[in-house]
């Protein structure tokens, strides 16, 4: 059996780790969407909005509800494709310009959260109706 000196083995391992770490940055679209969207808020379920909404949102990220949330176009496109692919098909057909931007303005959402808009705003631990995790379990089921 050929025996390598331990120090050489460790050094080689170290080098391989240093090379492998940056390469591990290959992300799926879902991972990229989660990382970028949830820098500011939870990743809202793509199925809450129609594809046209996601097209509108991801092509106006420089004016995102009063904030500049721009991304390089290749990343925005990857996220757009992911959101559109998982969007709701239950909305009537509409143009991208007319598509809703706010989940919190959809009628079912307002119906379910009627009394909670003000409570969320006034509770410092929640802060806003857009902070789903302030009240819900964020494990994909949105249980209270």
């Amino acid at each position: 059996m050929i025996r390598f000196p331990k120090a050489a083995t460790a050094a080689a391992g170290c080098l391989m780790l240093a090379i492998a770490l940056p390469a591990a940055g290959q992300q799926t679209a879902a991972e990229l969407a989660t990382q970028e969207c949830s820098a500011c808020h939870v990743l809202y379920p793509p199925s809450f909005l129609p594809p046209q909404s996601w097209q509108r949102i991801t092509s106006t990220l420089d004016q995102h509800f009063g904030e500049d949330a721009s991304l390089p176009e290749d990343q925005a496109a990857k996220i757009r494709d992911y959101l559109v692919a998982h969007a709701s098909s239950r909305f009537p057909t509409m143009s991208v310009d007319q598509a809703p931007l706010r989940i919190s303005e959809l009628s079912w959402f307002k119906g379910e959260h009627r009394r909670l808009f003000e409570r969320a705003r006034n509770d410092p631990a929640i802060g806003s109706i857009s902070n789903c995790g302030g009240c819900h379990r964020m494990d994909g089921y949105y249980e209270k």
Binding site: K6, A7, T9, A10, A11, G13, C14, L17, A18, L21, S38, C40, H41, V42, D62, F65, G66, E67, D68, A69, S70, L71, I126, G127, S128, S130, N131, G133, G134
Partner: protein, 135 residues
């Protein structure tokens, strides 16, 4: 008696430690010198502090200051407008801060536009990072 393979463990630890330290401080120093070179003046944490706390105009009136989201004390966690926690900007509290040049540029681009309606200069960026690194 079998000897425990202590040497690989020690080397492994040294390796991880060195990589981690290199991953943190090297890039941050490089980012700081990059802004300092571009600005052509020495960076000032004191100027950075004033800029960070100042109430600005030209951007979104809902967030007139960097401190609107990051709070007036960068050692504290901040909050986005929808209530998500932002880890402290102070390097002493969040050691991974400002070690990824692309990330730093991305957020300066966004946040300066949101708060001031314009880009920040290299000097403003460098001063801010000098301030966050000094805490």
């Amino acid at each position: 008696m079998k000897r425990k393979p202590i040497l690989p463990l020690v080397l492994g630890l040294i390796c991880t430690g060195t990589l981690a330290a290199w991953a943190a401080s090297g890039p941050r120093q490089e980012i700081l010198s990059h802004y300092a070179n571009q600005a052509g003046v020495a960076l000032s944490a004191e100027r950075g502090r004033a800029f960070f706390l100042a109430s600005q105009t030209g951007g979104n009136p809902d967030t007139p200051s960097c401190s609107s989201c990051h709070t007036a004390n960068p050692k504290n966690a901040g909050r986005t407008r929808v209530g998500k926690v932002i880890e402290p900007m102070a390097v002493s509290r969040t050691p991974a801060r400002f070690t990824d040049a692309a990330k730093v540029e991305k957020w300066f681009g966004r946040n300066c536009n949101t708060v001031l309606g314009r880009e920040c200069s290299s000097q403003e960026k460098g001063d801010i990072l000098a301030y966050f690194s000094s805490l």
